[in-house]
């Protein structure tokens, strides 16, 4: 079975509008975009992508934080993500 993180990864970065709502397994929901990612280790049982860097829309707008700042945004563990939904069409691409 194909790794769910890989399916998500391939679909997400092909999308033109990447603003999403991410709901974590602990119930917290955030609006924003994923800007980068960390690969898992092929020699262990990691998912294809183990972590994501996420910038919240609000942060983006207010602080004009550039996404290449080394510690911009927050890092999310893939396994803690419950669902990701696109803002423009409400398509849920990961659940």
């Amino acid at each position: 079975m194909k790794d769910a993180s890989k399916i998500f990864f391939e679909k997400y970065f092909k999308s033109s509008n990447r603003f999403v709502v991410v709901t974590m397994k602990n119930g917290i929901a955030r609006n924003g975009i994923f800007i980068s990612f960390f690969y898992g280790n092929e020699y262990s049982n990691d998912p294809y992508i183990i972590k994501w860097r996420f910038i919240e829309t609000e942060h983006f707008a207010k602080n004009k934080i550039v996404d290449w700042d080394i510690d911009a945004g927050i890092i999310m563990n893939h396994i803690e993500i419950k669902s990701v939904k696109f803002k423009n069409n409400d398509e849920t691409i990961f659940e």
């Binding site: 970065f13 980068s36 990612f37 996404d67 290449w68």
Partner: protein
């Protein structure tokens, strides 16, 4: 070209093979039978049994396992435990472990072989000058061998083959001269004598520890395969094995014929040598042991170089003393081995004492090779599981017996076991830490940075950082790039350049691959170069990149004339600047205990190792080193509260 000549079956190739491959195993007659007899009573049971064990060990272990079976497992002509590992690594994730143990054992062996070989040869001088100080002579010779490494073996290497040829002819003549006096020694061809010795002779099984010394060079033989080629090794082995057996049997004949009840301090190898021939004989023997030592030292350099290229070992300085392919010099390993050899000589003093520790490491290396061979036979050669099991069963049984027999040496060999464990732990730490660090490398799609990168390139309000700015990227995917590079370009003093180059190096499982692919992501602005480099090739980026530039200029794909008006007018070439990003552990991180240990160990070793710029051959280029913090698990949120000042005069009264 030179290499190809050696790999074809030819008289010259056979001669070179004698010099490179068979030095170690070829000098074993200096000490093997002496070690088997030791202080035991000389009887037919012991001598014939010992000879029979040697014969069948050389047949089963050296001829069948190494010459016939293992030499088939070549990686584009190259042998050795890491070559074998690269052939099978994709089939099981844990196969790096036997490769580490085997490599550690081989490196430790390189510390024992020169002292025992050279001492055995020089001790023969006592027959001529009884009070000669052997230890200083051995130390001088060993120091000379290691001091000479920096010059390579191009000049004297051509003499190795002829010297070894003389050595093997000497073995034959000396052996035959005794066998004809006591031809019944040939009865030892019967394996019954070996079986009887191991099962009925008091503590006979433990004699395997001494018998094993006859085949210690077999593993090195596989490591040096690439220098000579399989056909040359196989054909010359027929000659070498004949010479070895004739000499062993000659020594056995002398033992049976001498009338001595015990060997005492005598060495049967020198006893079968006529008195008048002792001095030239010792000179030839010493030369042969120097050649044997040279082969092991060269093998250790190759092993470390492969380990560095496979990311199993911290980067160390590797030099190329000659233009001969594969000839290396690793100064740090050279002098560490020298120090180890001198300690062995000073501690054990006599070759007889060194025999007590010799062999243990090699049994370990052989067992690991057998294990990896099992995977090779099953997955690469596609042999049936039953046949692979049978082959493994035979060799693991034999090698385990040798291993158990050698375990008694642990009392003396603990120091070497700790060297093996130390080397293995360094490899394990380096490899595991790099795997952990690789999980901390952050990538982002390069396409989302292209507009900003193009704007930056043309923004004249920012002074130009370099005409050509080059980054080394670890991203195997050309559509992605590390965020730290993006951070360096934009946020670490914005770096405007005419052309941005991203160079990626992929290490292949083939030894000598050397090719590249160009990807002009944005014409004349952003170019990615993907090098594919074999694990035996040094990644000298400056040389390789220059070659790429030359080829692009020749193809009219690139104009490197300076874009600065004044310089361009005079056809001055544009400037190239490399930016190397060095990661360091940030105080911001909160790691688990395991990761903290791993990463601290890794960065400690990395500080001792060669810098990235030197490792990539960029020390003569314009290189900027930038330190980028490794921030992956930021410290927990800090609750920082702003308070108003109540100092007089600040308007808060």
């Amino acid at each position: 070209m030179e290499n190809n000549i050696h790999k074809k079956l030819s008289a010259a190739g056979l001669l070179v093979t004698l010099g490179i491959i068979f030095g170690d195993i070829g000098t074993s007659p200096l000490y093997v039978l002496k070690a088997i007899v030791g202080d035991r009573e000389i009887t037919e049971e012991l001598v014939f049994g010992g000879l029979s064990c040697i014969l069948w060990t050389l047949t089963l272990q050296t001829t069948f396992k190494y010459i016939w079976l293992t030499l088939q497992a070549d990686n584009h002509g190259e042998g050795g435990i890491f070559s074998l590992y690269t052939l099978v690594r994709r089939y099981k994730k844990w196969l790096y472990l036997p490769a580490f143990v085997g490599a550690g054992a081989l490196l430790a062996d390189g510390i024992i072989t020169p002292p025992i070989s050279v001492s055995s040869a020089i001790e023969g001088l006592r027959l001529v000058i009884p009070n000669i100080p052997v230890i200083p002579i051995v130390i001088i010779i060993i120091t000379g061998i290691f001091a000479f490494q920096r010059f390579g073996t191009k000049i004297i290497g051509s003499a190795f083959g002829p010297i070894m040829l003389v050595w093997f002819i000497l073995l034959i003549i000396l052996g035959l001269s005794q066998v004809i006096l006591f031809p019944s020694v040939l009865k030892a061809f019967n394996p019954y004598y070996a079986f009887h010795l191991l099962t009925n002779y008091p503590k006979g099984f433990w004699l395997l520890g001494a018998v094993f010394l006859a085949t210690t060079g077999a593993e090195a033989l596989y490591s040096d395969l690439g220098h000579c080629g399989r056909k040359n090794v196989r054909v010359s082995w027929a000659f070498v094995k004949t010479a070895l057996l004739i000499n062993y049997f000659g020594q056995g004949a002398w033992l049976m014929n001498s009338g001595n009840s015990h060997l005492g301090a005598l060495n049967p190898f020198y006893e079968i040598m006529p008195q008048w021939f002792l001095i030239p004989g010792i000179i030839i023997a010493t030369s042969a042991t120097i050649i044997a030592s040279q082969a092991l030292i060269s093998g250790s350099f190759t092993l470390i170089s492969e380990a560095v290229n496979l990311n199993f070992w911290p980067r160390v300085t590797i030099k190329f003393p000659t233009e001969i392919r594969g000839q290396l010099y690793v100064p740090s390993i050279n002098w560490l081995m020298w120090a180890g050899c001198i300690c062995v000589v000073l501690y054990f003093k006599e070759s007889g004492n060194m025999e007590a520790i010799y062999g243990f490491n090699i049994t370990l290396a052989m067992l690991m090779t057998t294990l990896l061979m099992g995977f090779y036979l099953k997955y690469v050669k596609k042999l049936s599981s039953a046949l692979v099991f049978l082959i493994l069963f035979v060799f693991i049984s034999v090698e385990s017996s040798f291993f158990i027999a050698n375990i008694v040496k642990l009392k003396e060999a603990w120091m070497f076991l700790s060297i093996v464990i130390g080397i293995m732990l360094i490899m394990l730490l380096w490899y595991t830490a790099r795997r952990t660090l690789n999980k901390m490398v952050e990538f982002s799609p390069i396409i989302q940075h292209l507009p900003a990168l193009l704007d930056l390139s043309t923004d004249t309000s920012i002074s130009k950082y370099a005409s050509h700015l080059i980054y080394l990227t670890g991203s195997p995917n050309p559509r992605q790039i590390e965020r730290r590079i993006i951070y360096s370009v934009f946020s670490r003093s914005p770096k405007r350049a005419d052309i941005y180059w991203f160079i990626h190096i992929e290490r292949t499982g083939e030894p000598y691959t050397l090719e590249y692919k160009l990807d002009k992501m944005v014409e004349d602005k952003i170019v990615r170069v993907d090098f594919r480099i074999g694990f035996r090739v040094q990644p000298r980026v400056n040389v390789l990149f220059r070659k790429v530039i030359e080829q692009m200029i020749a193809n009219k794909e690139l104009d490197i004339t300076s874009k600065y008006e004044s310089l361009g007018k005079h056809n001055v070439a544009a400037d190239f600047r490399f930016v190397m990003l060095e990661r360091f552990l940030s105080v911001e991180n909160e790691f688990s205990l395991k990761n903290r240990f791993l990463l601290n160990g890794y960065f400690f070793l990395r500080n001792l190792a060669q810098s990235d710029s030197r490792a990539f051959g960029l020390d003569t280029s314009d290189v900027t080193i930038e330190k980028i913090p490794l921030v992956i698990s930021p410290a927990s949120a800090i609750n920082l509260k702003r308070v108003t000042s109540d100092m007089p005069g600040d308007g808060n009264e």
